[in-house]
Structure formats: C-alpha cells, structure tokens
C-alpha cells in the first residue's frame, strides 16, 4: 500500500521509483519550485521565532521590573542557585546548538548517517539539560519549599519579597524547560524521519526549521543564565 504525504509525495516508493523520499519530493503546487518553498518555510519559521522571542521578553521584563523593585529579594533568592549546575547546563546547550547546526550541515551534504548522529547527540544534550534541571536543581528547591507566591514554605527567607523572585525563577526556567521538552520531541521526530531517508541536499526543510527553533531556545538560556545565576 502506498502512503502519501500532504503534498502528494509518495512516502513509500511507488511502482518503479526507488529513489529516496528527498529526491522524489515535490514542493506544494503554489510554490514556484523547491527553493521557493524552502525560502517560504524559513521565513515562516522566523516569524514564529519572533513570537517566541516576544513570549520570553514578557518574562524578562517581569524579571527587570521585579528585580528593580525588590533588589534584595533577588540577591537573597539567587544565593539558593548553584552556579555550577547553571554553567554546566549552559555548556550543554551550547554544544547542542553546535550539534544541531552540524546536523543541518550534514543534511545539506547528503550525509544521512552523520545527520542521524548529530540529531541523537543533540537529543542527548537536551535530555541531560532536563535531567540536571529536574534532579539537581528543581527537586531540591521543591522539597525545601522555595516555591513562588503563596506556595512558599521555606522557613528562613532572606527577604519578605523572596516569593516574587521564586515566581520569576520557576516561571522563566519552567517555560524554558517546556520549550526544551518540545524540542526533544521535535528532534526525535526528525531522527525517525532521517532513518527513513526523508532528508537530503535538496530537501531538508524540517531539519532547518527545528534547528532554528532550537537555537532560539539556546539563546533564551544564554540570557537566563547570567540574569538568574550570576546576581551577587
């Protein structure tokens, strides 16, 4: 049985055409050619990324406002954060950014094995990030009661407004971790598609799109790390 994708491309080779998917791929009919579709896909992804930037800018403006109004609460709250884990997480995400950019490059050069490997390493880095965050950072704070707002129950607050700091911390890192989790799902999807030889030098739209998303997630963490962990 032949399966077809939304563009009418045959997913499993039909009678006689044994070329891999990325060679048989036909762009959607409203595009002039595959290049046109690729440019349009990239533009669309950049528009989506701009909405992501604005989403996180809300958290950053909240951070700036509350830090301006409650500087001591932020300084005191930040003492509970371990800079070492933050640094390790930053390095892990930077490496994952490199590996996913290399994955795009591998797809452009038609190296399917390298593509799969780089996607796998990116996923491992992302999972390591989530693991470090939940096991070494979140669980400790959860058990100690360092929670936002009315859920705060730590017995020795440095400042009456410390729950505000924890609101910013959990909110910003929580939304970021959610984005990392979504990224893991997307990269896993790419990996399964790469195994079926869906990507090649003339068709790798999805790899490019997910890679761009992943870089924005990395950029957000590049800003979160100094603002949360390096307050003294």
């Amino acid at each position: 049985m032949t399966t077809i994708d939304a563009h009418g491309n045959v997913l499993s080779p039909g009678a006689g055409d044994t070329r891999p998917y990325h060679e048989r791929y036909v762009a959607a009919p409203h595009f002039r050619d595959r290049e046109h579709e690729f440019s349009a896909v990239k533009f669309g992804v950049w528009l989506f990324l701009s909405t992501e930037v604005l989403l996180f800018s809300g958290m950053f403006v909240g951070y700036a406002t509350l830090r301006y109004l409650h500087p001591e609460a932020f300084r005191g709250g930040a003492h509970h954060l371990d800079t070492h884990w933050g640094l390790i997480n930053t390095i892990v995400l930077l490496i994952s950014s490199y590996t996913i950019a290399s994955a795009v490059r591998a797809a452009q050069l038609g190296r399917n094995g390298a593509l799969q490997t780089y996607l796998m390493i990116t996923n491992i880095c992302a999972l390591a990030f989530i693991l470090i965050k939940f096991v070494f950072e979140y669980s400790h704070k959860w058990h100690e009661g360092l929670l936002p707002g009315k859920y705060y129950s730590y017995p020795n607050p440095s400042n009456p407004s410390e729950p505000l700091w924890w609101g910013i911390y959990w909110g910003a890192t929580g939304i970021h971790a959610t984005h990392v989790a979504v990224g893991i799902v997307l990269i896993t999807w790419l990996w399964f598609r790469a195994r079926k030889q869906h990507f090649g030098p003339t068709h790798y739209n999805a790899v490019e799109g997910v890679a761009l998303y992943w870089h924005i997630v990395d950029i957000v963490w590049i800003f979160l790390f100094p603002l949360l962990y390096l307050i003294h």
């Binding site: 440019s39 533009f43 800018s57 950014s97 490059r105």
Partner: protein, 289 residues
C-alpha cells in the same frame, strides 16, 4: 515569496573562502551549484564546518568570561574593597550575552548568509522588545521621582501652607484644618462640615465653601474639588446624634451623595503618609450608593 534580490555574485562566486580542513566532498563555496531558485536566491548556504567549531569555541569562551566577570566583581569587593555598582555587573553580563546571541544568530542560524527579509524580522522583533522593556523600565524606574514643581506641595498630611484664593492661610496639614473647620461649623449649629453635598445647606459647595464663600479653583489645584468627604472628618463626638452617625447612611434625610472614599484618613490624629490601615475604631464609609 522572498522579494529582495541578492546583489552578490552568482552561484559560483567566491562569497566566502572555504576553511582549511574541508573534506573532498565539501563544496568549495558555500553556494552549492544550481542551488539558486528562479529568482536567484540562495537558500541552501552550507556553512563551513570549521566556522561552526570556531563559533562554538567563541561561545564557550564568552560563557567562561561572563562567569569570570561576576566572580571578579565579587573578588574585588571582598578582597580589595573596591565596590562596583550593581548596574555595571548587569551591563557586562548582558553585553556578553548579546555577543553570544549575535554569534548564534549569525552563524548557527545562518542569518549572515540568509535572505535579508529574515534579518529584518529578527531585528524588528528585537526593536519591539527594546520598546517594551524601555517604556516599562522608564515608568517603573521613575515612580519615586518627585518633580521639583510638584515637590513644593508635598507635605505630610496634605497641602499645607498654601493660601487659598479667598486669602485664608492654612498652616499644616489640610486635614487638620478641615477637621477644625468642621468642628467649628458643627458647633455653630449648621450641618456637619462633612456633609458638603449642596443639599440646601449654606456650606454646600465644597471645601472652600465652608466659610460661606463661593467654590473656586485655585492655581494649586488642577480642577475644582467637589464634595469629597474623608471619613475621618466627622467630628469626634458621641454617636447620640444618630442622623450624623457614619453607621446609618440609609437613614431618611441622610442621602449622601458621597463617593466611596478610601479608608485612609483616621478619625483622630494624622497618620504618616503611606500608612493605609485605619486604626481599630475607624470604619470605611458604606459604599452602598
């Protein structure tokens, strides 16, 4: 859909020289042959592998730099006693983060080699964020700023020491003045000074009208003040006179037109500004109107 033309070289132009250790299968320029679409756009720019590695090295370097900068600032304040203002630390950290972001955006995301429309989208977004952050921080940052012009009118307990239009010179907080006025007017047999709503009483037009003169605005006020009653202005007397008790707003003949006032003014004594909790004896006016 991209409408801007690349003015650069054709598909085989030397746009960016290859980096040293290119494998044989690597293309020698970043535009693969024939990759341009019918409008001449090069969507498939292949960034050299060495570029990616160098950018990663730079990113890791800047990460360690930012951690080092914050440690150095702590060290300088603890070991050498040199205190650097907090905003310097934030500025340095954000500058390094901006450089790292630029590296990721230009090289990892390929914006340097990409269609300019994507750069415009990104820069416009950054501009929006700057607008957002700029206006909010300008507002929040200046909340406690008191203009010199208004500053002279800020006196604990309200405007004080300002001549009213009718020449009456008020010293000290206006609430005290109003209270004494109310007490005097009440003692003189008229309605309590607090019920200045124009209900047929002689003193019915507003705070200026207590002495019988017409209500006027003055340069010290932005607009005429009408019938504002603070709960604490009722004279402190035993509640034998039921019609004037604040507990019985629904009593016939007691139709206040008073807007609900915030429970800030205490019945006795003036409280320091910012102290918003009324003492145990005060009751907020019933807002049932």
């Amino acid at each position: 859909m991209a409408s801007a033309h690349h003015p650069g070289p054709g598909p085989h132009g030397a746009h960016a020289p290859p980096s040293g250790a290119a494998a044989a299968s690597d293309v020698l320029d970043i535009y693969p042959a024939g990759a341009a679409d019918s409008h001449g756009h090069h969507g498939h720019v292949i960034i050299p592998g060495t570029t990616l590695v160098l950018v990663l090295a730079a990113l890791l370097f800047f990460t360690l730099l930012t951690v080092g900068a914050s440690q150095a600032e702590m060290l300088m304040s603890q070991a050498f006693g040199i205190v650097i203002p907090g905003w310097v630390n934030v500025l340095v950290a954000l500058s390094i983060a901006a450089v790292k972001t630029a590296l990721v955006v230009l090289f990892f995301m390929g914006l340097k080699y990409d269609d300019p429309i994507n750069s415009m989208v990104f820069l416009f977004t950054l501009g929006t964020v700057a607008f957002f952050m700029g206006f909010i921080m300008t507002d929040v940052g200046n909340r406690s700023t008191i203009d010199r012009f208004k500053g002279q009118y800020i006196v604990e307990g309200g405007t004080g020491g300002i001549k009213w239009y009718n020449g009456q010179d008020i010293q000290g907080p206006i609430t005290e003045w109003a209270r004494t006025q109310a007490a005097n007017t009440h003692a003189a047999g008229g309605h309590g000074g607090a019920e200045v709503t124009g209900h047929g009483s002689t003193a019915g037009h507003g705070p200026h009208a207590r002495d019988g003169g017409p209500e006027r605005s003055s340069p010290e006020m932005s607009r005429p003040v009408r019938g504002v009653t603070l709960p604490g202005l009722k004279p402190a007397e035993p509640a034998t006179d039921g019609a004037h008790s604040p507990d019985a707003p629904g009593t016939p003949g007691h139709q206040h037109d008073v807007p609900p006032a915030p429970p800030t003014a205490p019945p006795t004594g003036s409280m320091p500004p910012g102290h918003n909790t009324p003492p145990a004896g005060a009751r907020p006016p019933a807002g049932g109107h």
